[in-house]
């Protein structure tokens, strides 16, 4: 049997490139492949990763959610501020409710009113920046008495040596994967992304399915905000800036198609984690912090290109 190298490259090219990168960093930077560093990377990706679990549902319906960056900012400000006002329980409950609510607004506009997802969520990104500044009055918020609250466990705790945020991310991935793969809701999400018209002709409530996917995205972002607030014990008005693109880059890198209908939670976990290792590796190699933005760009372009190349069967148009 002969190996179709072109096809193999398309299918496994990113993983192979990633393997080479890991090897190069391991040689060039001390301490890259140590347990401590690996747990560090996992802790860093747990926030983007948790958001990405929810956004994956939206992407599989063939749509985007660009509002998660400022949603993360607002929800982190809320959880920190309310922690001081009503205590940790109330703050967590309010944050989850707010996340569900914002997701529902996106969902109604995109799903029921059939407005363009890109525009709706981009506008929401902008709106929530405004709401954040209005809510916080422009100043940073901090958890009072950060040393005494059990709220710290979500961002700073660890269980048997594994950071709690990593446990939340991976536990969330198990739950999300079950929903996306095994439930009627997950099947409807795949069907709507694969062929919305055929889904409607099959009696699937397509509008509600899309709306629900945005609610899941909002919920995931709220959980990420709780981790973030707990880890930082405070929030600036720009804390979630740019997360929407990092999340999207991770999802695409995992191989979930932006065209909808295909994709899985485990792909997202792998993609987000790979992205985390790339950024961490570059930092260890001595690159500046802001190189990560360049990395996101390269990853998005490369992954989208490869996705399209696989669809049309060749690399160039």
């Amino acid at each position: 049997m002969t190996i179709d190298w072109q096809q193999a490259l398309r299918r496994h090219g990113l993983i192979a490139a990633f393997g080479l990168f890991l090897a190069a960093v391991a040689v060039g930077a001390e301490g890259f492949l140590t347990l401590g560093n690996i747990l560090d990377v996992l802790r860093q990706v747990s926030i983007t990763g948790t958001i990405a679990l929810g956004v994956t549902f939206v992407v599989v319906t063939g749509r985007l959610d660009l509002s998660v960056g400022s949603m993360l900012t607002l929800l982190t400000v809320i959880v920190v501020d309310q922690h001081n006002a009503v205590g940790p329980f109330g703050a967590i409950a309010l944050t989850l409710l707010a996340g569900l609510g914002i997701g529902a607004v996106n969902g109604v506009l995109v799903g029921l009113f059939r407005l363009n997802a890109l525009i709706v969520t981009l506008a929401m990104l902008s709106l929530l920046q405004g709401v954040t500044l209005w809510y916080s009055g422009g100043s940073n918020v901090n958890v009072a008495g950060a040393g005494e609250t059990w709220f710290a466990v979500f961002g700073r705790g660890s269980l048997l040596g594994v950071p709690v945020p990593v446990l939340i991310f991976l536990g969330g991935a198990v739950v999300a994967s079950f929903f996306l793969k095994r439930t009627t809701f997950g099947r409807a999400v795949h069907a709507v992304g694969g062929n919305e018209t055929a889904s409607r002709f099959s009696g699937i409530a397509t509008a509600r399915t899309v709306a629900a996917a945005y609610v899941v995205s909002g919920l995931a972002t709220a959980i990420a905000a709780i981790i973030m607030g707990s880890r930082v014990m405070g929030a600036q008005n720009t804390i979630g800036q740019g997360y929407e693109l990092t999340v999207l880059a991770g999802i695409i890198l995992g191989g979930t198609s932006l065209m909808g209908g295909s994709g899985s939670i485990w792909r997202t976990v792998i993609g987000i984690t790979m992205l985390g290792f790339i950024q961490n590796g570059l930092l260890l190699l001595g690159f500046e912090y802001y190189v990560q933005w360049l990395v996101s760009w390269v990853v998005i372009i490369a992954a989208v290109w490869l996705d399209l190349a696989a669809k049309r069967g060749r690399v160039l148009a």
């Binding site: 439930t183 009627t184 099947r187 694969g194 055929a198 009696g203 209908g261």
Partner: protein, 505 residues
């Protein structure tokens, strides 16, 4: 031979795992209409794409006017004089007719600017030569499908094409438009153009072609002179065996009425439609494209909102359902376009079959894959579906097998009423016959069946009763000996003629 204009010899094309064309040779003469026939997957479209420069053959030669040619892209094909007229037209709706005819080859002046006057004049000449009733300045998006097709044919005229390939050109034309198309083809023919004609419609093939070449499994089965062969002979070549009988009508055993609609009206699409269908009955709905047939059944199924009318389901008046409610009541709609409306192409057979019945194949919201696989296996066997397994994406299957999955997804929930909209469009003879047999069997099993078709032999062959639909109204009802071709033609054409006359006046 001098009158051979195009000849292909020994063309072979292999895709990973499939030999799509194996040593294919045939030729087209000047002034000839040459039919290319075969079941879906036989290699017709691959051959066509090789000729149009979309695929590069692995081996073989193409000779045009006694000169060997290498066709590397559709533009090269056009320059050499080969033009493909796709089933899905490839025009830019926002551009004018003239701009579309010369798309990518617009005449320019000395400064490299578009020479509008020449563009217009040349386009007008091409349109006039074909006898088109519209000018070069009209925006293409405003034209009917038939006229858009004429724009594509005008390209052949404008570029002096030697060979024009038609791929299922009549799939979405009304009967009158089809006549016009045939007249145009005759015109091209008398101008010495060689025409390759691909269609599944046997009556057309026998009406307008001179020779027929049949492909099966990527190989040429033979070329026949149309006048010297017949339907049975061609069918045998296509499927490799005799087809016992073409149509099967269900035994008459009508029971209770399942569905009745009264005065169903949709402001812009149809009005005052009455119909009813009983268990065990096959009701045919015949009409030309655009008569409102699909829109009517989509409204019954809840995909469109009705403006007026009553719906009586098994003797009880019910409000108009949502699609979900329609499915739960026991209605099934096999839509007109299986790729756009019928299937999620990226999903496997298993997931497509259970899609309308997620609640049925799950408990507490969790899908029961074991039962999904069972129902998949059951229907793969009953309907004899050729697939490698429950997860093989249905986009990899032939049209006939895809259509069987669309049927499976509705039959597995044992509906009371099944509506089939153009159930055999674009599928091969073998699968067609299997679907006709199935329709009869479903009625005999006690389902109420509504069959929409624009193929007259089909609707006459399977129905117990036929309603004709014209411009959004029921224009005739026929049973028993009253169901004849002539009766149906008369019923659908009279009001249409009147409309044409009004247009002219």
């Amino acid at each position: 031979m001098t009158d051979v204009i195009l000849s292909v010899a020994g063309i072979t094309k292999t895709f990973p795992g499939v030999r799509a064309l194996a040593d294919v040779s045939f030729d087209v003469r000047a002034g000839e209409v040459h039919a290319l026939m075969g079941e879906n997957g036989a290699g017709k479209s691959t051959l066509m794409k090789v000729l149009a420069g979309l695929y590069k053959p692995d081996a073989g030669t193409i000779t045009l006017r006694d000169e060997p040619v290498t066709i590397t892209s559709p533009l090269v094909a056009r320059e050499k004089g080969i033009l493909l007229i796709h089933q899905e037209l490839s025009l830019s709706p926002e551009l004018s007719v003239a701009e579309n005819i010369y798309l990518g080859a617009w005449p320019t002046n000395a400064l490299g600017m578009l020479n509008k006057r020449k563009l217009r004049a040349d386009a007008k000449a091409a349109l006039d030569a074909l006898g088109c009733d519209f000018g070069p300045d009209v925006r293409v998006g405003t034209l009917s499908i038939a006229r858009q097709q004429m724009v594509e044919i005008a390209r052949a005229q404008a570029f002096n094409a030697d060979v024009v390939i038609f791929d299922e050109p009549t799939a979405s034309l009304t009967d009158g438009e089809r006549r016009q198309l045939f007249a145009t083809i005759a015109r091209l023919k008398s101008a010495g153009v060689g025409i390759v004609y691909i269609s599944h419609k046997m009556d057309e093939i026998f009406e307008i072609t001179d020779r027929i070449t049949v492909l099966r499994d990527g190989q040429v089965q033979g070329t026949r002179i149309t006048a010297d062969t017949d339907l049975a002979g061609i069918t045998r070549m296509m499927i490799g065996r005799d087809l016992a009988s073409y149509f099967h009508r269900a035994r008459e055993d009508f029971r209770d009425e399942v569905l009745r609609v009264e005065g169903l009206t949709h402001a812009s699409l149809f009005s005052g439609v009455d119909l009813s269908v009983r268990a065990g009955e096959v009701l045919g709905l015949y009409g030309l494209v655009g008569a409102g047939r699909s829109e009517l059944v989509e409204t019954i199924f809840g995909l469109r909102h009705a403006d007026a009318g009553r719906l009586i389901w098994k003797g009880q008046e019910i409000p108009f359902p949502t699609p979900r409610q329609a499915v739960d009541l026991g209605m099934a709609l096999v839509p007109e376009s299986r790729k756009e409306q019928g299937l999620v192409l990226g999903m496997g057979g298993r997931e497509n079959v259970t899609l309308p019945h997620l609640a049925m194949f799950s408990s507490a919201g969790v899908m029961d894959r074991g039962r999904e696989r069972e129902v998949f296996d059951t229907y793969r066997d009953i309907l004899d579906i050729k697939t490698t397994g429950p997860e093989q994406p249905v986009e990899k299957l032939s049209g006939g097998n895809q259509q069987k999955f669309v049927l499976a997804k509705w039959l597995c929930a044992a509906p009371s009423l099944i509506i089939l909209d153009e159930p055999t469009r674009g599928i091969d003879v073998g699968s067609k016959s299997a679907i006709h047999e199935l329709i009869a069997k479903l009625a005999e099993d006690g389902l109420a069946v509504i069959v929409i078709s624009s193929e007259m032999p089909e609707v006459l062959g399977v129905s117990h009763r036929i309603l004709t639909m014209t411009e959004g109204r029921i224009s005739g009802s026929f049973t028993g000996d009253g169901m004849t071709e002539q009766a149906l033609i008369d019923a659908v054409s009279q009001p249409a003629n009147r409309a044409v006359q009004e247009d002219i006046a």
